[in-house]
């Protein structure tokens, strides 16, 4: 599958790379949806990785879980949502030690939240790689009510908490693992432009 090229943006917006198999004692891989393909690609690079790998996967409706299981990672977990998996991820990160390599792949929301968990656990950023795969949907915080709306695919969008119509900014908080949404019709109430798919 071809990878999406994010346009150049401002300095708070995260940028992602391409996962490479690196030497390490232990490999923690956290992925959602099409992120599974990036892990399968890692396996192609170095099949030996999987004997020391722990995969945490959130399918989000994709059926790639079977193929991940088939590459026989030492540990495999599948969860329904990031939220459901969050405490497990924190627990695993707590126990990581020097020489652990971390691979995050899939949607920006997944990578952002897992990255935040890694930072909270004090993992050095040099041990973490990311690769975007699949949907370009964003995790957005409403600057007004502070509610998070997951998987936003259009600009503008409706805040799933307070209902305001928000435009999608590129300003990004790693602490919140979210982009910022700001009321679009504050200066002209009711004049909400047609929703457009992100990057279209």
């Amino acid at each position: 599958m071809s990878k999406f090229q994010f346009p150049e943006s401002i300095k708070s917006r995260p940028v992602y790379g391409t996962l490479k198999a690196r030497p390490g004692k232990y490999h923690l891989m956290i992925a959602d949806a099409e992120g599974a393909e990036a892990i399968l690609h890692l396996h192609e690079q170095d099949a030996g990785l999987m004997a020391k790998a722990h995969i945490i996967y959130i399918p989000k409706g994709s059926n790639l879980g079977e193929r991940l299981r088939a590459i026989r990672p030492a540990q495999y977990y599948e969860g329904p949502t990031y939220e459901a998996a969050a405490s497990r991820i924190e627990r695993v990160l707590e126990a990581t030690h020097m020489g652990t390599q971390i691979y995050l792949t899939g949607t920006e929301g997944l990578m952002g939240q897992a990255m935040r968990a890694c930072m909270n656990a004090g993992i050095p950023h040099t041990a973490i790689q990311t690769e975007h795969r699949g949907s370009v949907a964003r995790r957005m915080q409403c600057v007004h009510c502070k509610g998070i709306t997951e998987d936003v695919e259009t600009d503008p969008f409706e805040c799933s908490h307070c209902g305001l119509n928000l435009f999608v900014r590129d300003h990004y908080s790693r602490r919140l693992a979210a982009f910022q949404g700001v009321c679009i019709d504050a200066e002209d109430p009711g004049n909400v432009p047609e929703k457009v798919e992100l990057y279209k």
């Binding site: 708070s12 600057v143 007004h144 502070k146 300003h171 908080s173 790693r174 910022q180 504050a186 200066e187």
Partner: protein, 355 residues
């Protein structure tokens, strides 16, 4: 001189007003007839007597009312004041810096009495007389940063310094020009400045950061920044933008002189002794267009600056839609005569308006 504190509001009926004294000493931010971002920093070592640059933390006629407005903002939204756990020591540093500075610079308004760790702080304008133990949080009604910044005009960002960068790890932010502490907390210097146009490309933030990292204790620095605000609204926060944004559309040729305000931030930078953090006070001054143009030099210059300001800056500062109406108003105060260099109004020497 003794300051007469105004009883005024920065919301609803907007009774805020500047006295002639406040207009005279307003920190007009343009030293020439045009404006572009630059690394405009200088030492913060006083300034002309009576000017806003004279004292380390300027206190003026708006003090009491600004503190009342801050208390209201915080009651509505406590997230405007936050401090990450490792920033408490920096909060004490800041409390000390402000208490020492204000009691030395305004002995008639503030007193600090220290016996070892037992400190007594008297803030006469606000009617506060508290005794507490320095570095013991349980002896204050709020954390140290919140306690002292509820009594000091201006917003405060407290920056942790590590990895050759500054990190916005604490702050009291209720009079901001449309940015969110709650969103930006934890960011580094380049991340929180990300939305600013043009300045990154010009290398301004790289040079500015280098300067800031080297600021030494006892050698503070300062700079000015500015934007535009319709009505004297202090709390132009993104949090409340869906409520105040509409006010930008209420300007008319008749009311613009009274309603349109130039908003100037006197920003300063102090190194803190124990934590090695940097504190960044952002003091907001507002002035109505009709009061600016009382000084012929300022009227001429503001017209030229706003007229020639690059579109990116007018858009970022949020007044691109109102610029034509501003120029209609301001052009009446520009007769084309040259202006003297520097920011001060020079009312005694500059010629009166020739139109």
């Amino acid at each position: 001189m003794t300051i007469q504190f105004n009883k005024e509001t920065f919301r609803d009926d907007y009774s805020f007003k500047n006295s002639d004294w406040a207009i005279q000493r307003f920190p007009f931010p343009f030293h020439e007839d045009s404006y572009m971002y630059s690394v405009n920093m200088e030492q913060h070592r006083g300034g002309p007597a009576g000017s806003v640059y004279e004292k380390r933390f300027d206190v003026d006629e708006h003090y009491i009312s600004e503190m009342e407005d801050r208390a209201m903002v915080l009651a509505d939204d406590p997230l405007r004041c936050q401090s990450l756990p490792h920033m408490t020591l920096a909060g004490w540093d800041l409390l000390e810096l402000i208490m020492v500075s204000k009691s030395e610079d305004y002995p008639d308004l503030f007193e600090l009495h220290r016996e070892g760790d037992i400190w007594r702080w008297i803030n006469k304008p606000m009617g506060i007389d508290d005794t507490f133990t320095f570095l013991d949080e349980t002896t204050l009604p709020y954390g140290p940063m919140e306690y002292i910044t509820r009594q000091t005009q201006g917003d405060f960002c407290v920056l942790d310094q590590r990895d050759d960068n500054l990190w916005m790890d604490a702050g009291m932010v209720t009079t901001q020009a449309d940015w969110s502490l709650d969103f930006d907390i934890g960011m580094n210097f380049f991340e929180w400045h990300a939305p600013v146009p043009l300045a990154h490309e010009k290398g301004i933030f790289k040079r500015a950061l280098k300067f800031l990292l080297n600021i030494q204790q006892g050698a503070p620095a300062r700079r000015l920044n500015w934007t535009m605000t319709v009505n004297p609204l202090l709390d132009t926060s993104p949090e409340n933008y869906h409520k105040w944004g509409i006010q930008k559309t209420t300007l008319t040729p008749e009311n613009i002189g009274a309603k349109q305000h130039l908003r100037v931030e006197l920003q300063s930078f102090f190194r803190l002794p124990r934590s090695n953090a940097l504190v960044f006070p952002i003091r907001c001054y507002l002035i109505a267009f009709q009061d600016i143009v009382k000084s012929p030099k300022w009227g001429r210059r503001l017209h030229r600056v706003i007229r020639d300001l690059p579109e990116e800056l007018a858009t970022y500062k949020g007044f691109i839609d109102n610029r034509p109406m501003m120029l209609d108003f301001l052009s009446k105060y520009d007769d084309g005569l040259p202006t003297s260099p520097g920011v001060f109004p020079d009312n005694e020497t500059e010629p009166a308006l020739q139109k």
